[in-house]
């Protein structure tokens, strides 16, 4: 019944995200939208690093690329990544939000507009508050809100900010996030 998963993370999330991506089945039924804070001037290397471990293909999408199931879409460095209502990626160089470009808030908010209650949102470890507002919008649109257990996070700021703003559906450890995703059909 769900149509997409959107994941946001910052400091301390890389290990978690590679663990998740390496545990998904090759035929994972949903697209995975990834908005992770990253260095602006390092354009290459990140998607390659994620791809080594991931069982599903990970791309940094082109503007207006069609979103397909079983594929990961990583927000490119120095761009915001939006989801259009017709389920295509749209990129933007508008000013940073929460000092971040890509901003997790914007990816979550636009994904929530496009997928409404068919969206799963996951906020991971991170050092700023980006993502908290986006998760609130996702929940408000009927989506399922998951936050990584702050006790497990290398940096708690992002998850705690999210929990403060939204009554989430689940607070999960990495292992629980993985077993939850494995049950999706």
């Amino acid at each position: 019944m769900y149509k997409a998963v959107v994941i946001g993370g910052s400091a301390g999330s890389f290990q978690v995200i590679t663990k998740i991506l390496s545990s998904l089945p090759k035929n994972f039924p949903l697209p995975v939208l990834l908005c992770l804070h990253r260095l602006k001037h390092v354009r290459s290397g990140f998607v390659e690093a994620l791809s080594i471990k991931s069982t599903i293909p990970i791309v940094e999408p082109y503007d207006k690329e069609t979103i397909k199931p079983g594929k990961g879409y990583l927000a490119p460095s120095n761009y915001h990544m939006y989801v259009e209502l017709n389920k295509r990626i749209a990129l933007s160089t508008e000013e940073p939000v929460n000092h971040s470009r890509p901003s997790i808030d914007l990816t979550f908010e636009t994904a929530a507009q496009a997928y409404r209650d068919k969206l799963i949102g996951i906020i991971l470890s991170g050092a700023n508050r980006d993502g908290a507002y986006g998760l609130k919008k996702l929940k408000h649109a009927g989506g399922l809100a998951i936050v990584q257990d702050p006790n497990e996070c290398q940096v708690k700021t992002m998850t705690e900010a999210s929990l403060k703003l939204t009554t989430v559906d689940h607070i999960f450890t990495t292992e629980q996030i993985i077993s939850f995703l494995l049950k999706l059909k």
Partner: protein, 276 residues
């Protein structure tokens, strides 16, 4: 952080008003972008909601100009993607501009002018500025006026200077601007021969005989229909063998587009119009 949110019906009504009153068609802008942009304008100008926006824009031509200006996304940095500017400086510009006369370079949407000034600075450093005719167009008259004055936000210096160092490690960007009090003033001699054109939104009157187009990260605000229309306009403006540079996450990818263009640098999205 509470934001005003436009509904789909409101968004359609706004697009219709702009079409009916000003004959400007925004329906092929990317919807998420258009919506977000108008939401910001509504908040910044205390217009309360979509009706407030429509009332104001229907009756106030000056506000329409402000709206056009704020629809253009301001570039946040000079020399964005330094690796591209190194390719232009070290390979493409010397190869295609050296020895040329009146070599026309077109910026279809010059926005806040960073791409124009970045290009002019590189050409100046290569002693090629005298060989070119820079042409900068925009849908915003206000944007053009601002760019002509060479006034920039001083906050951008902290991004611009390191970017420039990645292109010219032994020069200083500050050779090209003065920083006094709260303003950064670019040396406008860089653009003294630049031709500025106010475009209407359908670009029915575009420049011809162009040898190079710089149009990075502007078509991302359009949907595929408008993107394709612009790529065709640019095709007609370019001479055979002319070049176009788009953003590094943009593609020229319509049906049979490989008959029109050759991708000559994938990492930096540089295309060349085929000879015939």
């Amino acid at each position: 952080m509470n934001r005003y949110e436009l509904g789909i019906v409101d968004t359609r009504n706004i697009i219709k008003t702009l079409q009916d009153v000003y004959n400007y068609d925004f329906k092929n802008y990317a919807l998420t972008f258009f919506k977000r942009r108008v939401e910001k304008i509504i908040i910044n100008h205390n217009l309360k909601d979509a009706d407030g926006f429509i009332q104001k824009i229907e009756t106030n031509k000056d506000f329409f100009e402000i709206f056009l200006h704020e629809m253009c996304v301001e570039d946040t940095e000079m020399f964005r993607d330094p690796s591209l500017w190194r390719v232009l400086k070290e390979e493409l510009f010397p190869k295609i501009i050296h020895g040329a006369v009146n070599f026309k370079i077109w910026f279809p949407e010059v926005s806040s002018g960073e791409e124009l000034f970045s290009t002019a600075i590189i050409l100046k450093k290569l002693n090629l500025l005298k060989n070119v005719q820079l042409i900068a167009s925009s849908i915003s008259e206000l944007g053009i006026e601002k760019t002509k004055k060479g006034l920039f936000d001083p906050k951008k210096i902290e991004v611009n200077d390191p970017n420039f160092k990645r292109v010219f490690s032994e020069s200083e960007l500050s050779d090209f601007y003065t920083h006094e009090n709260d303003t950064v003033n670019w040396s406008t001699s860089l653009i003294e021969n630049t031709k500025f054109i106010k475009q209407n939104i359908i670009f029915d009157d575009y420049p011809k005989g162009i040898k190079l187009v710089l149009f990075r990260n502007q078509m991302i605000y359009y949907n595929q229909i408008l993107q394709e229309r612009f790529i065709k306009i640019i095709y007609n403006s370019l001479v055979p063998g002319g070049h176009i540079v788009i953003g590094n996450h943009e593609k020229i990818d319509y049906w049979n587009s490989d008959k029109d263009y050759t991708l000559i640098n994938k990492a930096e999205s540089i295309y060349k119009k085929k000879l015939s």
